[in-house]
């Protein structure tokens, strides 16, 4: 038994590594531009000088390790250049990558974009009075929209628009600008007609060593450094810790209440299965379990915290957790929040208690159909004693793993309760982060919950082995 447990605990390391790889690649495909988010956070407004703004972008991208390859190695077609990941440094990087997939000629794409930049530069260097005159604003917006296109199709469409400007502007442009304009047009048509050989499709493997994004990110994660939140710039881990306090508090109350509701009722309904009262409880169990949690919670808020339906039932304080400053002492914070947390805990307890109650009842009834129950009864032991000492422990045994494992899941799964009751806990944090595309927080929570779930599995397994006499005695 000890050997198996040690084996499972040692398995934690590969599990964490695989989980980290999964989360890393998910965070890579998550929508939005990370660098832009950081720029917004730092309050960098649009600078007049294009060059400075570009430098800002490159600086932030470098600080995020975006100039490094993604993973330890990569398998790409031969036509892919080794340094494709360097494109992440530029605001136009994503577009250039998608263009490259369609037209596999990176040099031509680069020259097209360089020409576009220098055309913008040459427009910017003109006199103020000249810039406002007609061909220039139209040209500038055409190039800017071209640079912001999302897909090759959109790029083509925007490019046709730029090309259609040709007749209207040709005469007015100075020689240098019109030359640049012509160069853009020709480099695009070169790009579209570019050809590459079939041999370029063969796979090529390149190794990057430890100088890669995943390695650096994973090293930080192991030190519990998940980066900063893009909403307020706080450290992700401290934000999670702050919200974890409230979730833990009310989930613990809810768990205790769940047991207090489910165990006695489960035992009662199983022991007196034929009585009308236990049939009634059965129906109540099924009803509360079939009620979606968010409906139950909304109804509870409607009934007990507002006087819309009846003012006599308005017995709980309003939603939220009261006026709490972060510099108050912990005991003071808890004493303010405690009355607010009663109703959410009750709601969760009723909902999951109904489920647990049915499980206990069903397991006990199954157990009571076994022959040892009849044997014990026929020996003259009272039914009460048999049920409490033999049936109940046996029937709750399969539930141990379920209960332990559901704890980490309920930490993040309490989104609904926390959103409805306005508790600033983990679920609420997750929900807000998803709405704000705050991926650092989302994926930190995913990692932590995944890790906690695995640890809970091991714990549940150990507990199950410890409490199960078949395994304990059998060894």
């Amino acid at each position: 038994m000890l050997f198996q447990i040690i084996k499972k605990i040692l398995l934690v390391f590969p599990v964490i590594f695989l989980l980290a790889i999964l989360v890393f690649f998910l965070s890579d495909i998550a929508p939005g531009d990370k660098v832009e988010d950081y720029l917004d956070l730092n309050g960098v407004t649009i600078r007049a000088d294009e060059q400075l703004q570009k430098q800002d972008y490159i600086d932030v991208a470098k600080s995020l390790d975006l100039d490094l390859p993604c993973f330890y190695f990569s398998i790409t077609p031969r036509i892919y250049p080794d340094t494709l990941y360097k494109l992440n440094l530029y605001p136009t990087g994503k577009l250039r990558k998608t263009l490259f997939k369609r037209y596999p000629a990176i040099g031509k794409i680069d020259s097209l974009f360089i020409n576009m930049e220098s055309l913008l530069g040459s427009i910017a260097s003109l006199d103020d009075s000249l810039i406002r005159r007609e061909p220039y604003p139209a040209l500038k917006t055409a190039i800017l929209t071209l640079r912001n296109s999302d897909s090759p199709e959109e790029f083509k469409q925007n490019f046709d628009e730029l090309r259609s400007l040709r007749k209207s502007i040709k005469a007015d442009l100075p020689v240098k600008t019109s030359e640049l304009y012509e160069r853009i047009i020709s480099s695009y048509s070169l790009l579209v007609s570019s050809k590459s050989s079939l041999a370029g499709l063969l796979p090529k493997m390149s190794f990057y060593g430890t100088e890669n994004r995943f390695h650096k990110w994973f090293g930080k994660v192991l030190r519990l450094d998940f980066g900063i939140s893009i909403v307020d710039g706080q450290k992700v881990f401290s934000k999670i810790l702050k919200s974890l306090k409230w979730t833990l508090l009310y989930i613990l109350i809810a768990y205790i209440l769940t047991f207090a509701v489910a165990i006695p009722l489960g035992i009662y309904t199983a022991a007196n299965a034929k009585k009308n009262l236990s049939k009634f409880f059965n129906i109540v169990f099924i009803a509360f379990h079939s009620m979606p949690l968010f409906w139950l919670a909304t109804l509870a808020v409607l009934l007990f915290t507002t006087s819309e339906i009846s003012s006599a039932l308005n017995i709980f304080p309003s939603i939220g957790i009261g006026n709490i400053d972060s510099d108050m002492s912990l005991s003071r914070q808890l004493s303010i929040a405690a009355p607010h947390l009663i109703l959410p805990s009750l709601v969760v307890a009723i909902h999951s208690g109904a489920y647990l109650g049915t499980l206990i009842r069903r397991n006990m009834l199954d157990e009571m159909r076994k022959k040892y129950f009849l044997a014990l009864l026929s020996r003259g032991i009272s039914k009460r004693k048999v049920i409490m000492k033999h049936i109940f422990p046996n029937s709750i045994l399969p539930l141990i793993t379920l209960l332990v494992v559901s704890l980490p899941a309920s930490l993040a799964g309490s989104v609904i309760t926390e959103v409805i009751f306005n508790i600033p806990g983990m679920g609420r944090l997750l929900y807000d982060s998803i709405l704000h595309y705050d991926w650092n927080i989302v994926f930190a929570i995913v990692l932590l919950i995944g890790f906690a779930t695995y640890m809970a599995y091991i714990l549940g397994d150990i507990l199950y082995r410890y409490f199960n006499p078949k395994i304990r005695v059998g060894q």
């Binding site: 929508p31 997939k101 079939l198 499709l201 507002t306 819309e308 899941a409 799964g413 989104v415």
Partner: protein, 376 residues
Amino acid sequence: MNKIAYILLILFVLTGLFADFIANDRPVICKDNTGYHYPILSNNFNRGKDCKVVLNPIIRYSANSIDKLNAGAISPFGFQKLKTNQQRHFLGTDHLGRDVLAGLIHGTKIALKIGTFSMFLAFVFGLLMSLYPTYYGDTGFRTKISSLVLTLLSVFIFIYFIYYRESIFSVLKQNDFSILLVVVGLIIFLVVFWVLLSKIPLLRKPVSLPLDSFFTTIIKLFQSLPGTFVVLVMISLFKKPSIYNIIIVITFLKWPIIARYIRAEMLRIKQERFIEASKALGLSDNIVIWRHALPHVLTAVIVALSFGFAGTILLESTLSFLGIGLPVDHVSWGSILSEARADFSAWWLAIFPGFAIFLTILLFNYIGNLISKKIG
């Protein structure tokens, strides 16, 4: 009790299928001097036309049609500014002035759509992931190491082609015969590779693959995922909200349940005499699985599908309650209920959609229990 359940089930399906005909702001049939028209069928029907209404739908509002006169959440029993009594909002309106009953009917359609599609996909996927592994067990599937290597290589090539499809297609498009060349080249390469591999005596040794434990581990892994949490994170990874994203995510989460039911049933059927008999007759494994075992598995799967449907509706309504996943213009049960949060005085926005979800979940759980009792 059973009769009520069946009637409710039929009602649910019919309401879902004909939602647009039951609640619509366009008349079903109208008549003008050119003849009869069916404006309900066309989205761009012009009300200004001189068209005399012959038949109206039962509820004269679409889920999205805004009644400006009755905006601001009017109670079902409150005073409503109406032209005729038939235009009454029987279950009240929401803050924008949309009819709650029409919203509920439209929500039935969405629930039915998401439930059916995701359960179908989960069924297909669960079947693939559990039927063969369970039939062969841990020792039943024996193969040579060389063919195993070949399979892995083909899988790698397949993934490579899928991942770099855009670049590969853009190169292939440049030349007329290049596709043919690549396909023929690949086939020749694989055949030569296979011939070479089978020359090595070490790789000709047959091994048995522990298919069953491998796929059972995967199923267990997926089942241990915390549901609401995974759905929320996955949905947020999609760039645009759409009903199909929800279907994909729910399928991803729900297929293990179906797979487990199929596995349990397959384990039982594997031991039956008729399987043994058909094996003894020399039928191939494929025919035994698909012709003889599958029909017995399917009856049990209906139970899993019914329970799964209930879970699907719960997940979908939870998502739309949180305002994640569905496009803004889709009215569903959860999205109506979420409006009650903004203003608790509008109790009808909380009670009716919640009751619809509750009843549907109860219904499918009940039917699942009923079928499982009937099967025995």
